[in-house]
């Protein structure tokens, strides 16, 4: 199968293009202008919730951001006490999401490679089948699964970061596979054929040609997958538990993450201040903490996106 026959300009489609091009000129221009307006409009419309969201989070959260908030944990902080911070949650999010990424991305990308470059027969079909099923997994079920898996081996009290990372991986892998599969399919076959024609072995073709050509798309896919899981709360609450203290060891002890922290703080609602509102007791401090943590989480993901784009630029072939 060669490149020229894969997308044949059929007589019908040529005819369609010709008839379209010979149609009344002003009408075509009008349609073009309308569509341009619609496309710009679609973009403008999407910006409305984005700006509203960012504004809500920033204006509510910025007041809480300080050096203490970023570098202290919440150990021994309770009630309306406005000290303490989210350092433990930042570290927890980085470590657990990082581990989940480390588990899911190699497996996911390699599976996508398998499906696109090698896969056929029953195995490929069943992988596709299960990946499809798994995109709809309710997140709490992933948490329960991971807990069941680890407690089977380590006894009922096992709760640590890695369990959460495994739970997140179960959620993440299908997204990585599906989006990377789509990106690998986009690599034109001409490129593969050119490489084979030069005598390049298949594995090297995949690594040097296929992966490098699709690196922008793969990065997008991976970033989407990270974004999918970095905001999870329910599975982490079940699998990792919560803590107020700093724990950077994902193999032992509970950890806190930013979304869980934000959600728990929101749920706690108002604090009771027996002596009324003062500098040491602010009734709605929990809600402020929640917004602050949300802002930090968004900034973190933004940084991640920027790093991803840098890596991407660094690796992708220079076409122009």
């Amino acid at each position: 199968m060669s490149a020229t026959t894969a997308h044949p300009p059929t007589a019908e489609s040529t005819e369609r293009v010709r008839s379209m091009l010979t149609a009344a000129h002003p009408g075509r221009k009008r349609v073009d202008r309308t569509m341009t307006v619609l496309v710009w409009g679609a973009f403008a419309l999407a910006m409305v919730p984005l700006i509203s969201l960012l504004w809500t989070v920033t204006s509510n959260g910025i007041g809480r951001i300080s050096m203490d908030f970023l570098t202290l944990s919440m150990r021994n902080i309770f009630g309306g006490d406005p000290t303490g911070g989210i350092y433990h949650a930042i570290m927890g999010t980085l470590i657990i999401t990082g581990l989940a990424t480390l588990i899911s991305v190699p497996i996911g990308v390699l599976t996508a490679i398998y499906l696109v470059e090698y896969g056929r027969g029953a195995l490929a079909r069943s992988v596709t089948f299960f990946v499809d099923v798994m995109t709809g997994i309710p997140s709490i079920v992933a948490g329960l699964f991971a807990v069941a898996l680890f407690t089977l081996i380590l006894g009922p009290a096992a709760r640590f970061g890695l369990i959460g990372a495994v739970a997140l991986s179960v959620l993440m892998i299908p997204v990585v596979v599906r989006s990377c599969e789509e990106m690998l399919k986009l690599v034109p076959n001409e490129l593969r054929e050119a490489a084979y024609a030069l005598g390049v072995p298949k594995w090297l073709t995949i690594v040097k040609v296929v992966l490098r050509t699709s690196v922008a798309g793969l990065t997008t896919g991976v970033l989407l997958a990270i974004a999918r899981v970095i905001g999870e709360t329910a599975p982490l609450l079940v699998a990792v538990g919560v803590t107020d203290s700093i724990n950077t060891n994902p193999f032992e002890g509970r950890m806190m993450t930013l979304p869980v922290f934000a959600y728990r703080q929101y749920s706690q609602g108002l604090a009771t201040c027996p002596g009324g509102e003062s500098a040491t007791c602010i009734p709605d401090i929990a809600l402020q903490n929640a917004w602050g943590a949300a802002l930090v989480l968004i900034v973190l993901v933004l940084l991640l996106n920027i790093i991803g784009r840098l890596v991407n630029r660094w690796f992708s072939p220079k076409l122009r």
Partner: protein, 325 residues
């Protein structure tokens, strides 16, 4: 045409007998990760089935005593029916809002916006994907719901003849229509990101050919970009739908739920989705009630599977248009 061209390629390669040395190692690594995923995902599915089994085999009397929300004398199917309905309605509405918008945005970034600007704009939209669902929940609850109340009551008043807008508009705005908007915003970046990458890969030759024939920009898009990207758009929409079906927190925090088969999306206490339902009742559940919740999760699996298979069938039928290879 069941075999995609790369697979045909793989066979050709093997026939040439070059499956030696590192080639073989690499192939085994790839196959190995496929098998690993299969094992993990099959384990999750089995775990689910194992956990759901007691509820699936229990009689309806037993379930009615163990699960507080379970109505008496109801079969399991009748019990999850409204949940399935609510889940599908919310996801379909979200998809109907998000897909055209996302295609528009993707086109804007790939073909309309000035090149320098387009990347930055792309990041901006990606940023939406990065917002955790708890924050969408907070935003929907505090900002969007109060904001849409007058719009919903206007729709209800003047377009009430349309089945979706019938009923009585809720005074709090915490209804399925609001949830659908939030879900649409959540899946917008997913669909946009994938479609954008696909559009950017449109073969230059196709585009140039269209331009050479004197096509306007829209005609270029219609004749070269969209046909090329169709299967990609469908896959992207399915990825988005997967997220919309499984979304928990945002629905949980915004929707005022009910268990009815109702199209009144402006009315409160009408709908509930499976994922939100599980998360709402899971904390207090124990024993058979937990099994029942997991069984409802199993139903979500089946829905997702059906939707995905449908999408794959569409993509397969349209394969001749996906000009990648």
């Amino acid at each position: 045409m069941t075999d995609s061209p790369p697979r045909a390629r793989a066979r050709a390669t093997r026939r040439r007998g070059s499956d030696r040395g590192f080639n073989r190692v690499f192939r085994w690594i790839a196959v190995g990760s496929g098998v690993l995923i299969l094992a993990v995902l099959a384990a999750v599915a089995l775990f689910l089935l194992w956990q759901a089994w007691p509820a699936l085999t229990a009689g309806s009397d037993e379930l009615a005593t163990a699960v507080p929300r379970y109505p008496e004398d109801t079969s399991f199917v009748a019990y999850v029916g409204p949940l399935v309905f609510g889940t599908l309605l919310a996801a379909i509405l979200a998809l109907a809002i998000a897909t055209p918008l996302a295609i528009g945005i993707a086109l804007f970034i790939s073909h309309y916006a000035p090149r320098r600007l387009s990347q930055v704009l792309g990041y901006l939209v990606d940023l939406l994907a990065a917002v955790p669902s708890v924050i969408y929940g907070l935003w929907g609850f505090f900002v969007l719901a109060p904001f849409v109340v007058p719009i919903w009551s206007w729709l209800n008043e003047y377009l009430g003849w349309f089945p979706l807008f019938a009923g009585e508009a809720s005074p709090t705005g915490r209804v399925l229509a609001t949830v659908a908007i939030v879900l649409a915003v959540m899946i917008l970046p997913i669909i946009t990101a994938v479609s954008r990458e696909v559009f950017l890969q449109t073969p230059k030759l196709h585009e140039e050919a269209a331009l050479a024939l004197g096509a306007t920009r829209w005609e270029l898009v219609r004749t070269a970009v969209l046909p090329f990207g169709r299967s990609g758009i469908i896959s992207a929409a399915m990825l988005g739908l997967g997220r919309a079906l499984g979304e928990t927190m945002a629905v949980l925090m915004i929707l005022s739920p009910g268990f009815l088969y109702s199209f009144h999306i402006l009315d409160s206490a009408q709908h509930q989705t499976i994922a939100a339902y599980i998360a709402l009742d899971f904390p207090e559940a124990s024993g058979l009630a937990v099994n029942t919740l997991i069984a409802t999760g199993l139903v979500l699996f089946v829905i997702t599977l059906a939707v995905n298979m449908g999408a794959r069938a569409i993509v397969a039928r349209r394969k001749e248009f996906s000009g990648a290879n």
